[in-house]
Symmetry: C2
């Protein structure tokens, strides 16, 4: 379970904590294009991608807007609803056949209570998610479409290889036509 490897880079995992994690965490599989979460449902789960890829997206004026991708080794959830316990505006969808480890927020709370060192996990997830949102805003506001694509090529090339270009374009905040032109070097 790759999740343990990731966690042990964040916090020290005692034997007791490992037992608790093992009992709390479940494994789930989804087929390509299946939904893990649909908008308007409550988002109670934090997903860790063991294999495959996910995206979070919502509709804006009848267009699909992709907010995030998660590949192997990444956490994914509809973050704000997860924290605030409100209905999600986002959908979460498998882009490929996917295996995820799942932790729900009741169990996460219990982990925080029983193992205070796991609060660091929560804080790191919060900070990571928050800084990604800020980065997204900065990219949309200050970088050209071409720059955004170049940055993604440098930082997360696997996404470009594994994700349909329509989803990629919506994540970058541009149309498919514009993305094609950038890729063609025009």
């Amino acid at each position: 379970m790759q999740l343990f490897n990731s966690l042990s880079q964040i916090i020290n995992i005692s034997t007791e904590l490992e037992k608790a994690l093992t009992s709390f965490i479940s494994k789930k599989s989804f087929k390509k294009n299946e939904f893990l979460l649909r908008a308007d449902e409550y988002c109670n789960s934090l997903y860790f991608v063991e294999k495959g890829s996910l995206r979070g997206f919502y509709f804006h004026e009848e267009k699909e807007i992709t907010n995030w991708f998660a590949l192997e080794g990444d956490f994914g959830t509809s973050f704000y609803p997860f924290i605030s316990k409100t209905r999600s505006y986002e959908n979460i969808q498998a882009l490929e056949d996917v295996e995820v480890s799942v932790l729900n927020n009741t169990e996460l709370k219990k982990l925080y209570s029983d193992f205070p060192e796991t609060e660091k996990l929560g804080r790191i997830i919060l900070e990571d998610y928050y800084s990604k949102l800020e980065e997204r805003l900065i990219n949309i506001q200050f970088k050209s479409a071409k720059e955004r694509y170049s940055n993604l090529m440098e930082n997360r090339p696997q996404i470009i290889q594994r994700v349909p270009l329509g989803h990629l374009a919506s994540y970058l905040g541009i149309t498919q036509e514009t993305l094609s032109r950038i890729r063609a070097g025009n």
Copy 2:
């Protein structure tokens, strides 16, 4: 102290809690254009505006970008650094002569410990800040400059009356020239 009025709409304030708050909270005044925080400092304080106005801003490629304004009754801080205890990239500046109530994060932690009901305060601040960041992203990405100005006119007209137009333009993500054209109806 208007802060108590605001707080008592969020949580029930016991006598003990009121005493603790009174001893923790300090009052500060700043002159117009004075800085409450400069970039690269640690941001340990949560400000509540009793009178006047504040803005949070940072520099991007030698331009000032305003992130937020706070008027009477609003909280203001450089949020992410406040939570993550890292150096701030933002400055906080008084736009007018200002009086603020100040709570620092050590005291806030103590409040959370001694009065668990105050965790709700922290959660509400977090949610408020987060949803404002998402709203900002949505505005920048999907709304025209004119729509952004119109929304602000409807939702927070006092800002337009009290804030220099240069700061307003940078908050809206447009140039001063464009803001002038919108205001002129061209």
